[in-house]
């Protein structure tokens, strides 16, 4: 197996809540690896900590109210990103690791042209001249498949549709050929036919440029179609990780199971009722004791309420789950 490109270890990102009354442990001990050239899907529902994890990697967490706890570790190209000085960090951000966001319309600067925004990274990181950077921006617009790229170069974001804006965002992110692209819900704001275009574009660009993609999404369908491996998050923790085919055939964590069962499916006849996970995601200021999923889990027993399970090896290659059922599988039988 290749060496990981990015190693996240015991990442803890906490936020002080309003009036200092509590601490929201948004990301609470997250570890995973990202390998060169792979697509790693990070899935979970709102509030599970997936976006805070990605923002922490680039240190884009506003401090205060947020802070990354000592002991957290993010290794990239032999260095801990969390201890870099501001100039060192700037040399990584947007250059070696780039990011695209959910809302392409609001992530672009409305008062600069598309061409200027793409060229900026090339001027800053690669010290290109304005003219060369503009040529590079044009090349990027062509690469991401924007029709009539010469004309678009001088457009402002409001003149473009959501799908084209997301292509511009991707062009901006890839202008320096980063090793890692973090895509945070890149298609959530887009219609399904435009989503298909963007996912296909990301696939093609990855094949051409060879970067690793961290794909953050709430959509299991997107993960199934695009990711090589999956990290499932719940309540600020990684609860399961596995290669994609393994996860979809042998999910071990009851949360992953529940999530998969609650998605209405186009490829199956409609069931009388959808499976649903009872209750709501708990608040980050007050995670439940023991296993954080136990109040909503159909299998939970005393041990789950008292002791927090570690990520346990399930036996499948690269497959771990944070659940006591892995150690006591007979309990799953007993219930069903």
């Amino acid at each position: 197996m290749k060496e990981p490109l990015l190693r996240v270890r015991d990442l803890k990102t906490y936020f002080v809540t309003e009036r200092g009354r509590g601490t929201a442990r948004a990301v609470d001990g997250v570890s995973f690896d990202l390998y060169p050239g792979e697509t790693l899907g990070i899935v979970g529902e709102s509030g599970c900590g997936k976006t805070v994890t990605s923002l922490s990697i680039l240190r884009l967490i506003p401090e205060p109210p947020g802070h990354i706890r000592p002991g957290s570790f993010i290794e990239f190209e032999g260095r801990n990103l969390l201890t870099l000085s501001p100039p060192e960090l700037r040399a990584v951000r947007g250059n070696r690791i780039a990011m695209i966001f959910q809302e392409p319309m609001t992530s672009l600067n409305p008062v600069f042209t598309v061409g200027d925004q793409i060229a900026e990274a090339a001027i800053v990181h690669q010290r290109l001249s304005r003219r060369a950077a503009r040529a590079r921006a044009l090349e990027m617009l062509r690469l991401v498949g924007i029709p009539d790229p010469e004309a678009r170069l001088d457009d402002y974001p409001h003149q473009l549709s959501g799908g084209i804006c997301q292509r511009v965002m991707i062009a901006m992110a890839l202008v320096c050929h980063p090793q890692v692209l973090i895509a945070d819900e890149p298609t959530t704001a887009l219609d399904v036919t435009i989503q298909a275009q963007i996912l296909e574009l990301l696939e093609r660009l990855q094949a051409e440029l060879g970067m690793a993609i961290m794909l953050i999404t709430h959509d299991l369908g997107i993960v199934a179609g695009s990711a090589d491996r999956v990290v499932v998050m719940y309540a600020g923790q990684v609860v399961e990780t596995a290669p994609t085919p393994e996860l979809f055939t042998r999910a071990q964590h009851p949360y992953t199971e529940g999530l998969m069962a609650s998605v209405p499916r186009l490829d199956r006849p409609p069931a009388a009722r959808l499976h649903s996970i009872p209750g709501n995601v708990p608040a980050a200021t007050d995670w439940p004791s023991g296993c954080r999923f136990h109040p909503r889990c159909p299998y939970a027993w005393d041990k789950c309420r008292a002791e927090e399970p570690p990520l346990l090896e399930t036996g499948g290659a690269g497959h771990t789950a944070r659940c006591w059922l892995v150690a006591e599988p007979q309990r799953r039988m007993r219930r069903s």
């Binding site: 036919t193 298909a196 709430h218 997107i222 409609p270 959808l274 649903s276 996970i277």
Partner: protein, 329 residues
């Protein structure tokens, strides 16, 4: 088969283009948000209305309830013609037809408690007052699966799923027969989405409700609807029973839309039809078939660029607006 509860005929909603230059310049082009839409819904059933943003599906929902005035067309709900009613009669009919909105964060008044929100329609329609109204509020909360103690809460104290349940309770408070559900689950997480969908289906059974279910998610609509209408640029391009539409879609747009939905199964290697380009503006729809510039159909020809295809029965019960709906793709 019983007579339809909701009958929409040739509904049109155009928005006049505003004048440029502070109202003094030339008027801009008319936006044809809804351009001749017809459908009927059988009592106790659900019609799913699907399409991408800007296709006019929400405008249809709002116009048939007369939350917006129509440009033309006829809507009969519960035997009464909605567009000719005076204010008093319209208010009376509002008891029979209600709406659940997409965003439970902005569709509840942040200054009103759940109890106040639910009592307001009861007061307006003089259905209950005083202790009777409080009992009604408690019963409604129980019916939508909320703890009656939440009656004292403000919307910001509730989760997204709880708020959407309050939105549903508010719509049900006047005991309507017909409910427009405008993207009721698209702002919710999947596990909560499943809870709310199950609730809507249970309520439909218990109260024999009729739904117009507006959504962009084809999988959600497959789950809840008996009939499905697909809209593109203000027009229905396909209308069929759900079973037929999902099994054998006839319009190239429906086919592309279905193929573009990601399926949560890595083993399913399906043929994805990726459409090129964006949806054109409803202010300047293309001539001929509105879908022709993006259409992947191999038989596409000059006729598609000039002649608007009529919505016609391709097989009994399944309507599609395509010149080549019979041809394989």
């Amino acid at each position: 088969m019983s007579a339809p509860l909701v009958d929409v005929r040739n509904l049109v909603k155009h928005y006049p283009g505003e004048r440029a230059w502070l109202g003094l310049g030339r008027p801009r082009r008319v936006v044809r948000a809804v351009d001749g839409v017809s459908f009927a819904i059988t009592p106790g059933q659900t019609l799913g209305l699907v399409g991408e943003s800007g296709c006019g599906k929400s405008t249809v929902g709002r116009t048939i309830l007369r939350l917006q005035e129509p440009t033309a067309g006829q809507v009969v709900i519960d035997g009464r013609e909605v567009f000719t009613l005076g204010a008093r009669e319209l208010r009376a009919l509002r008891r029979r037809m209600q709406i659940v909105f997409q965003d439970p964060y902005s569709s509840l008044n942040p200054r009103m408690t759940v109890r106040q929100t639910l009592r307001e329609p009861l007061a307006i329609h003089r259905l209950a007052a005083g202790a009777g109204a409080d009992a009604k509020v408690a019963a409604l909360l129980e019916e939508v699966g909320l703890d009656s103690r939440l009656a004292r809460s403000y919307p910001h104290e509730l989760s997204g799923g709880q708020r959407q349940r309050v939105g549903i309770a508010r719509a049900l408070s006047v005991e309507p027969a017909f409910l427009v559900c405008d993207e009721p689950v698209s702002a919710l997480d999947v596990s909560v989405q499943a809870q709310v969908l199950n609730l809507l289906m249970d309520l439909q059974q218990q109260r024999r409700l009729t739904y117009l279910f507006i959504a962009h998610d084809l999988a959600v609509v497959k789950h809840i609807a008996e009939q499905v209408a697909v809209m593109y640029l203000g027009k229905i391009v396909e209308l069929a029973p759900a079973a037929e539409l999902y099994l054998a879609p006839r319009h190239p747009y429906t086919r592309s839309l279905l193929s573009a939905v990601p399926v949560p199964d890595p083993a399913a290697q399906k043929q994805r039809i990726v459409l090129t380009g964006d949806v054109p503006s409803p202010a300047s729809p293309p001539p001929g078939c509105p879908f022709h510039p993006r259409c992947p159909h191999p038989k596409k020809n000059q006729r598609c660029r000039t002649e608007v295809p009529a919505l016609r029965a391709v097989v009994p019960g399944q309507l599609a607006a395509c010149h080549f709906a019979e041809e394989p793709m």
